[in-house]
Symmetry: C2
Subunit: 62 residues, 2 copies
Amino acid sequence: MCEANVFLLEPDGEELLLLDAVDKVVPLEQDKIYLENIYGERKTVRARIKEMHLVEHRIILE
Amino acid sequence: MCEANVFLLEPDGEELLLLDAVDKVVPLEQDKIYLENIYGERKTVRARIKEMHLVEHRIILE
């Protein structure tokens, strides 16, 4: 499966895991992002996409 | 490998393949997006991310 783990980059440089095994990512209005993983878990976070490395299964938000 | 194909959604609803086998996606300033695939091909396009379905290997820009 080709889902990714979504991390939030914190001001101190730490990466906080927001949701694992994410399939669906949809940017919404006002810098919000909707995430849905393969287990049906859903989160909407206020952040923007910083970078994605799909081969490493990593999506970094900030 | 878990790269994705990146499509641009055109006004008529057609999806134009911009780059296949994309590993790295980095949003830049002014609604530009940098794409890099596993073959080292790189593109910067003026668009924003509409939605991503990683399990289907699809990223849709608009």
